[in-house]
């Protein structure tokens, strides 16, 4: 785990020296399992700052909700850094107005996996050196962190922020792309009926609360396609067509923009598996265009560029 005091010291320095106007990070939440995103605007508040594996939000979400010209300091992990880069590519924020405090990420703990193993009455969670200790009212549990990691963190490729202004802690080794690719290929190998049955089973639990949209840093349209009334693009009720349409188009809008942070899945109150959709699109983008979202702040995503070289592929 990165040193919390070092993070606090850096946040204080940024605010005291006027480098940024606000630092976006986490503060303790109502329960030990849910630290909350927080906006620190003066030095005294920074004492409240926390950071651990349970900080599950993607903070880049708040980038598009703050004024464009505001100088923002932000705690970023690998995926958040890539989301920020992707937003800079899409001109949602200028990189000069950002100061990124990078944290090499050891993975985000899925709170559902804790609840599954230890029950809901968790009093305290302590995390040290890839070991997680959980206190409940009557019991004490010890788990290895890998056991509790969120699925998208298990296949993470870039845990270390790629373009942070300062890195707190040691850089971690890169992950293995083959792990994620294997999952996609295994799913692809199923029959069409099985694939549809799985999708149907996941989509039919949707209650259309759009928590996934709110949690996603790349979903920043002022008017989402599902909110259009005239023309109505898709059924807006919790009907089969509406639920499936939402998940298909939500995922497809993330093509070559998704950084696979998994915030959508963690935000879902119905525990719908949806990163398997964006994961497929990410891997197609790597295979076809050798493009991964958010690796730098210049390269345009494949759908925003066109080359005539394509024609050889499409004419065949």
């Amino acid at each position: 785990m990165p040193d919390l005091n070092a993070i606090k010291a850096e946040a204080k320095r940024l605010l005291a020296e006027g480098v940024v106007e606000v630092v976006v990070a986490f503060k303790p939440g109502d329960t030990p399992l849910h630290p909350q995103p927080a906006f620190f605007t003066n030095v005294d508040e920074v004492e409240n700052l926390v950071y651990d594996g349970l900080c599950q939000n993607n903070l880049a979400t708040f980038l598009t909700r703050l004024p464009k010209t505001k100088k923002v300091g932000m705690l970023v992990r690998g995926c958040e850094n890539r989301s920020v880069n992707a937003l800079v590519v899409e001109k949602q924020k200028s990189r000069e107005n950002l100061y990124l405090v990078g944290i090499p990420c050891e993975g985000i703990i899925d709170w559902r996996k804790i609840v599954e193993r230890a029950g809901e009455a968790v009093l305290a969670v302590n995390e040290n050196n890839y070991v997680v200790e959980i206190e409940t009212r009557d019991e004490h549990f010890t788990f290895s962190k890998n056991e509790l990691l969120h699925d998208s963190c298990l296949r993470c490729v870039h845990p270390t922020p790629l373009s942070a202004d300062i890195l707190i802690g040691e850089a971690l080794p890169e992950g293995n792309l083959a792990i994620a690719r294997k999952a996609v290929e295994e799913f692809e190998a199923q029959t069409i009926e099985d694939k549809y049955a799985w999708f149907q089973k996941e989509a039919e639990r949707c209650i259309r609360c759009y928590a996934c949209r709110e949690a996603c840093p790349m979903c920043y349209c002022t008017e989402c396609f599902v909110d259009h009334i005239e023309p109505r693009w898709t059924e807006s009720g919790a009907t089969p067509a509406g639920m499936q349409g939402w998940h298909i188009v939500r995922a497809f809008h993330q093509t070559a923009r998704c950084t696979d942070c998994g915030a959508c899945e963690r935000a879902c109150p119905m525990d719908i598996k949806m990163t398997y959709l964006t994961e497929k699109l990410n891997h197609d983008m790597i295979n076809k265009y050798n493009f991964e979202a958010g690796l730098d702040t210049q390269t345009l995503p494949p759908f925003a560029t066109v080359t005539l070289d394509d024609k050889n592929r499409f004419m065949a």
Partner: protein, 146 residues
């Protein structure tokens, strides 16, 4: 299959240059083919395709101009990138890849679209009726208030 497969034909308004073909597409299409004419293939949002699929189309055909002959320079290439990926994506979810087909049409082509449609229809008949992803509530005959 007793009935002919339902096909949604998305057509770029510039790609059928021959007046007789255009006339045929505009007024003599068989009943099982539904024409959606767009200003360019680049205007085809994947949402439109999804709407066709959810509404019960057994196949989707997209016809556009040759790569270098787009009226808007690059509209067809941009569309092809998106729609090809959308096709792969729908296959991943459960709508067979072969139910979507792209046609490049040349300015000099005559009578191609009919042949391609006939071939596509034959292939779709072999595949059978689409059942996956067909979920949209049918609008009552005569409009929503009927």
């Amino acid at each position: 299959m007793s009935l002919k497969p339902k096909i949604a034909l998305f057509q770029c308004q510039w790609c059928l240059y021959s007046p007789t073909d255009q006339e045929w597409v505009d007024s003599q299409l068989p009943e099982n083919i539904h024409l959606i004419k767009t200003p360019c293939t680049g205007r085809i949002n994947p949402l439109y395709v999804l709407n066709a699929v959810q509404g019960g189309a057994d196949g989707v055909m997209i016809s556009g101009c040759l790569p270098e002959q787009c009226h808007f320079k690059t509209g067809n290439m941009a569309a092809r990138r998106q729609l090809e990926e959308f096709n792969d994506f729908l296959d991943y979810i459960g709508y067979e890849k072969s139910r979507m087909r792209f046609v490049w049409l040349d300015l000099q082509d005559r009578g191609i679209i009919q042949k391609r449609l006939a071939q596509f229809e034959k292939d779709l008949e072999a595949l059978g009726q689409a059942s996956n992803l067909v979920t949209r509530v049918k609008v009552a005959e005569g409009g929503q208030n009927a």
